[in-house]
Amino acid sequence: MLIGGIMVITRKNPVHSALALIIALLAQASIYLMLYAPFVAGVQIILYAGGIMVLFLFVIMLVSIDRSIRERQFNSQWVVGMIAATALGGLFIAVYMKGTSVFPEHALSTIENDNTQQVATMLYGQYMFPFEIASLLLLVAIIGAVVMAKKRI
């Protein structure tokens, strides 16, 4: 998964980046399966590796990539960017080193046999309102995408 992630940010051709991202997403779906979350793993494969990546590949083919491959790949502020990212990494490492272990060593037992049913019950019961808000968000996103991609409004 990390190899896929590294390849996403280093490849020259955006198509290669997208394929590496698909590898990373599938690896993450397998990690979800390890964490006893089969429904999230399925959603990850179908929505991410299926839907969103097809969208990315379409757009890569719509915009011309021939010229951008031959150009400089990193922007002019990449030194500052790397310094900022290194500072963030140092922060993570410092937190990891200084933090005392507050996590329980053994994970609690999760209900594993009817995960999808439990997720659905919670989604339509306790999380009803956020669910409706999410549908509104998707509607807004559809309209926004169409308006943005239209030639003349």
């Binding site: 590294i6 955006p14 980046s17 959603v43 990449w78 956020p130």
Partner: protein, 105 residues
Amino acid sequence: MEPLLHITTTHYLVLGAALFLLGVIGVLTRRNVVIVLMSIELILNAVNLNLVAFSRMWGGLHGQIFAIFVITDAAAEAAVGLGILIAFFRNKETVNIDEVNLLKW
């Protein structure tokens, strides 16, 4: 004898932090807008990984629900972002972010 491969929550968190860092590096250093958007997807995936790991740790399902909401957000964000990218490419004939310097002083 303690089993050698005992994966705790901390391992998942370290993996999520590394993935987040890769995404940040991609956002801050790449020039191609498409790859910047893909790096944002990496960041969102790191967050998802943390949510599901915590959900496993506490034995509840709230983290998984939130992971599904984050995936929904990512889909909306990708659709709008790629729409903006198409409009931008039509106007400027390029996909490099450092040529979007209209607001530069």
